[in-house]
C-alpha cells in the first residue's frame, strides 16, 4: 500500500502531471458540464470543496490529526466574509482576507487547546469545539442571523487594480474559484514537500521519536491545525459568495463528518490527490444518484463502508494499484525528492 510519505522522484517539482490533468479538466468543465447532465453551479461547489478538503488533509492525512469538527472553520470563514461585506464594505479581497484570518484565529484558539492531545482525546475535543461554534452560530442571532442565516451577501467584483471583473454570473465565479484552487494546490503541494511538511509527516508516523530528535511536536500540530483552518476559512468565504448567504448548517457535526468521509473515500491517507477525487465522487454521487433516488445518501454510505472494509486506501489507492506495473526488480531512485 502506498503512503503519503513515499518518496517520488517528481515531487520536488513545482508542477506535476496530476496538476496538469486537473487543470485541464477544471478549465474545460464549462464546455461539457451541461452535456453530461450537470450544471455550472455544481462546478463552483466542487472547486470550493476541493480547497476545503485539500487543506483539511494537511491536518487529517499528513499530520494524522483526526479532526471531526472542521466544518466550524468553513462556517467561520463564511460568516466573516458576509459580515465584512455588510459592515466594512464591499470588497472581494477584504472579504476573503477576513474569512482566512477569522478562521485562522478560531484555529489558534482551538488548536492551542487540542495540540497537546492525541488520538481519541484530540478527536473528541475537535467535535466539542465544533459544536460550540455551530451552537453559537445558531444562538448569536444578532450577529449571524441564527437559523435563518446571514442573507444578501453580495458577490463583489474581482478588482485587479487596472481591471474589474464582475463575478455575478456562475461562469465567471467558477473561473475565479478555480484560480484560487490552483493557488491553494500550489501552496499545499509546496508545504507537504517542505521541511515543515516532512516534519508533520514524521509526527504522524511517530510522535515520540519526533520529540526525541528535537522537535517541539505541539507547535507543529498547532501550526498544521491553524493552516488547515485557514484553508477551510478561504473555502467558507468563497462558499458564502457562491451561495450569497451563510448558514449554521455547514458547521454541524454531520457536515464535519462529510469532509472526513470525502477525504477517506478519495484516498487522502495515501495520496495528495485523494481529497480531490473524494470531493468529485461525493458531489457527482449526490447529483446523479440524488436524481434517481431520495435515499442516495444510503447508497453513498454503503459505498463508503465497502470502501473502508475492502479498499481502505481509497480511490487514489485503487488508481495507484491500477497504474502500477510489476517492476523488474527495485531500481535505485534518482536525486532527492519526496511524497506524492
Amino acid at each position: 500500500m502506498p503512503t503519503l510519505s513515499d518518496i517520488s522522484p517528481r515531487s520536488a517539482a513545482w508542477v506535476t502531471p496530476p496538476m496538469l490533468v486537473l487543470g485541464f479538466v477544471m478549465l474545460s468543465a464549462p464546455l461539457w458540464l451541461g452535456a453530461v447532465g450537470l450544471y455550472q453551479y455544481l462546478g463552483i461547489e466542487i472547486a470550493i470543496w476541493m480547497i476545503y478538503a485539500l487543506g483539511f488533509n494537511l491536518l487529517f492525512g499528513y499530520t494524522g490529526l483526526h479532526s471531526f469538527g472542521h466544518g466550524a472553520y468553513l462556517g467561520v470563514g463564511g460568516y466573516a466574509f458576509g459580515l465584512f461585506q455588510h459592515h466594512v464594505g464591499s470588497s472581494l479581497w477584504g472579504g476573503l482576507a477576513a474569512a482566512i484570518l477569522a478562521a485562522g484565529l478560531a484555529g489558534v484558539l482551538v488548536g492551542a487547546a487540542v495540540s497537546h492531545r492525541r488520538g481519541i482525546y484530540f478527536a473528541l475535543l475537535t467535535i466539542a469545539f465544533g459544536q460550540v461554534f455551530w451552537f453559537s452560530s445558531i444562538k448569536l442571532h444578532w450577529l449571524t442571523g441564527g437559523e435563518d442565516g446571514l442573507l444578501n451577501i453580495p458577490r463583489p467584483p474581482l478588482d485587479l487594480v487596472f481591471l474589474e471583473v464582475p463575478l455575478g454570473d456562475n461562469l465567471s465565479l467558477y473561473y475565479f474559484v478555480v484560480a484560487v484552487l490552483a493557488l491553494a494546490i500550489l501552496a499545499l503541494w509546496r508545504m507537504v514537500n517542505s521541511p515543515f511538511g516532512r516534519i508533520l509527516q514524521a509526527i504522524r508516523q511517530n510522535e515520540m521519536r519526533a520529540a526525541f530528535v528535537g522537535y517541539e511536536v505541539w507547535r507543529f500540530k498547532l501550526m498544521a491545525f491553524v493552516l488547515s483552518a485557514m484553508f477551510a476559512g478561504l473555502a467558507g468565504g468563497l462558499f458564502a459568495m457562491a451561495q450569497e448567504s451563510a448558514y449554521p448548517d455547514v458547521m454541524s457535526l454531520h457536515q464535519s463528518g462529510l469532509i472526513v468521509m470525502m477525504v477517506l473515500v478519495g484516498g487522502g491517507l495515501v495520496s495528495f490527490w485523494g481529497p480531490v477525487l473524494g470531493v468529485v465522487l461525493y458531489f457527482v454521487a449526490r447529483d446523479v444518484l440524488g436524481a434517481l433516488t431520495e435515499t442516495w445518501l444510503l447508497w453513498y454510505g454503503l459505498m463508503f463502508m465497502a470502501m473502508v472494509m475492502f479498499r481502505p486506501e481509497g480511490l487514489a489507492g485503487v488508481l495507484h494499484r491500477l497504474r502500477r506495473r510489476p517492476e523488474p526488480g527495485a531500481t535505485p531512485r534518482p536525486a532527492a525528492s519526496e511524497g506524492a
Binding site: 501552496a187 509546496r190 511517530n206 520529540a211 526525541f212 528535537g214
Partner: protein
C-alpha cells in the same frame, strides 16, 4: 568533571519506588554500561536521564549545566540522543529520511513552508555519511519498515547519531537480536567509541563486558556496584548474584 552526571535521583510511580538515590557519572569519550536484572529500574533510569520522565528529586548535569525536568526535545537539542528498546522509527519513510529528519541542519529549516525538503545536497551527503558509519550505506532509498531487525537497530543508532550528540544513550541495543546481529552491533559500537561518549543499558553481560570502560550495576532502584569490568568480576556482590556468573 564528568560530561554527564546524575546526582541523587529519586523516582516513584504511585507507591512504587523505582529509583532510590541513584548517582551516576559518565566520562567523556568512554563507553559506560548500566546493568541489572529485569525490573531493576534500568529503563526508568534511562527515561529520567533523557527527559522522558522528570525525577521526583535529584539533579542531572550535562557539562555542568542542569537539564533536569527539561522536556525530551530540549534535552535532545542540548546533545543527548537515545535509541529505544522498542524499535522507534519513522516507518513510512525511507532509511535516508529517517536520518535526515534527525539532522540539526534539517531541524534548522523547520520553519520553511515552501522550499523543497531535501533539495540541499549537503543534507543528503551528511545523512549518507551517517548511514556509512552504521553499515547501511547504499540502502538509503529502502523503506525503513522493510529492514531486518538488526538493520533497524543500526538505523536507530544512526538516527541518534544524526543529532550529533555529545552523549549517546542506547537502551538494550541487543534485545531481540540473534548472535550474529549482536556481534555486528558490538563491532559497530567499537567503531563508534572513538568518536562518541556512549552509555549502554544492557542485560546481556557478555556484550557489555566486552565494550564498557566502566559499568554501574543497578538493583532494586539503587546502584549496588560500580567499576571497570575487571573490578566488577572481583566484586563480591556481583559474584554472588546471577549477574557475576554470566560475566
Amino acid at each position: 568533571m564528568a560530561l554527564f552526571e546524575a546526582r541523587n535521583i529519586h523516582k516513584r510511580f504511585g507507591a512504587r519506588v523505582v529509583l532510590e538515590d541513584i548517582s551516576l557519572s559518565f566520562e567523556e569519550g568512554q563507553v559506560s554500561g548500566i546493568m541489572g536484572p529485569n525490573g531493576a529500574g534500568k529503563t526508568t533510569c534511562f527515561h529520567v536521564l533523557t527527559g522522558r520522565h522528570a525525577p521526583d528529586r535529584g539533579e542531572i548535569l550535562l557539562q555542568g549545566r542542569s537539564i533536569v525536568s527539561l522536556p525530551p526535545q530540549r534535552v535532545a537539542r542540548l546533545g543527548v540522543a537515545r535509541s529505544f528498546q522498542i524499535m522507534n522509527l519513522f516507518d513510512d519513510s525511507t532509511v535516508l529520511e529517517n536520518i535526515v529528519l534527525a539532522l540539526p541542519a534539517f531541524r534548522a529549516r523547520r520553519r520553511k513552508l515552501f522550499s523543497a525538503a531535501f533539495a540541499d545536497p549537503g543534507l543528503l551527503d551528511a545523512a549518507r555519511g551517517i548511514l556509512d558509519q552504521v553499515g547501511l550505506g547504499g540502502r538509503e532509498w529502502e523503506p525503513s519498515v522493510s529492514l531486518s531487525y538488526g538493520d533497524r537497530r543500526a538505523l536507530e543508532i544512526g538516527v541518534a547519531l544524526a543529532a550529533q550528540p555529545r552523549v549517546l544513550f542506547l537502551d538494550e541495543p541487543t534485545s531481540g537480536l540473534g548472535t550474529e546481529a549482536t556481534q555486528n552491533l558490538a563491532q559497530l559500537i567499537k567503531r563508534l567509541r572513538q568518536r562518541y561518549t556512549i552509555v549502554i543499558i544492557e542485560h546481556d553481560m557478555r556484550f557489555l563486558f566486552q565494550l564498557a570502560d566502566r559499568i554501574s550495576v543497578i538493583h532494586w532502584g539503587q546502584v549496588i556496584a560500580e567499576g571497570t569490568p575487571e573490578q566488577l568480576r572481583a566484586n563480591k556482590w556481583v559474584q554472588r548474584s546471577a549477574l557475576g556468573e554470566l560475566a
